[in-house]
């Protein structure tokens, strides 16, 4: 799953450490999410969305579409 976490972080000129501190997670977690190695839990994704003031699907981009009946 693609994500725009790094773009959003850079827009605010935050380091990974700064974002990690604001979200209460480790820098390794932020780095792993930004490099698409780890998909965060739903609570963490919601916290990210709240922090950046955008909907979750603006941070995490999923190209899946349901099949039409």
């Amino acid at each position: 799953m693609e994500n725009r976490l790094k773009d959003l972080r850079m827009q605010r000129e935050w380091s990974q450490g700064e974002l990690a501190r604001r979200l209460g997670v480790s820098r390794q977690t932020i780095n792993a999410v930004e490099t698409d190695k780890y998909d965060p839990s739903l609570p963490l994704a919601l916290h990210m969305a709240k922090l950046f003031g955008v909907p979750v699907d603006e941070i995490f981009i999923d190209y899946w579409q349901p099949e039409e009946d």
Partner: protein, 219 residues
């Protein structure tokens, strides 16, 4: 990250240390054999393959523990792989260093367990090894306590890695142990002793844990 950067990173993080390690290991063996005069072949005789592998793994765990401990004292080394010249701040260092030291302690406990199990075997009288049994029991308690502490202190990435490692390891260990036991029980001349089981469990868990950690960007 570009393909070229990925290749450079892979080279720097894995291939170069592996080559250095191989050269260092070969040199150390050569020095012991030719300069110090230790007859390595003779020293290895009398030990089974499982015992030798367990000793090797024990040494590997000690080396990892030393590296983790050394890292915990070096902010520069810990900041080496951070992007865009970022550095760990005081709070992060304060959070990371106990984790690294705890991990080093857990690795040391595993090393002691493997060393004792591999070097003491054969015709032994149970009562004469009560002390060794107690040491192993303490080490098992230490690694259990440390792993619980690490689980509590780490965030969701570590927990996800642990869950993934445990799941994959379980399937692999189950397959190996069942097939090994079957071959032994059905008389295929394959031995099956407790040290083999310990060795399979720890080596599978260690390899799977390393692969998952790297894949998830933790290591």
């Amino acid at each position: 990250m570009s393909t070229e950067n990925t290749k450079k990173s892979w080279l720097r993080r894995w291939l170069i240390p592996m080559i250095i390690g191989a050269i260092f290991g070969y040199s150390a063996i050569w020095l012991l054999d030719n300069v110090v005069g230790v007859d390595i072949k003779a020293a290895m005789q009398g030990y089974s393959t499982a015992q030798l592998l367990a000793m090797l793994m024990s040494v590997l765990f000690v080396l990892i523990a030393v590296i983790l401990l050394a890292l915990s004292f070096s902010a520069k080394a810990l900041s080496a792989n951070l992007p865009d010249g970022e550095e760990l701040d005081e709070a992060e260092l304060k959070e990371m260093t106990p984790m690294l030291r705890l991990s080093a302690l857990a690795m040391s406990a595993y090393a002691v367990i493997l060393w004792l199990l591999s070097t003491i075997s054969g015709d032994v009288n149970g009562s004469s090894h009560l002390g060794h049994l107690l040491i192993i029991a303490v080490m098992v308690a230490v690694q259990l306590g440390v792993n619980i502490l690490l689980w509590i202190r780490h965030d969701e990435l570590y927990k996800a890695i642990m869950r993934e490692t445990a799941g994959i390891s379980y399937i692999l260990i189950e397959m190996i142990i069942i097939l090994w036991a079957a071959a032994s029980i059905f008389g295929f001349g394959i031995s099956f002793n407790p040290l083999d089981v310990v060795l399979v469990m720890l080596s599978v868990y260690f390899v799977v844990g390393t692969v998952v950690s790297v894949r998830r960007g933790f290591a």
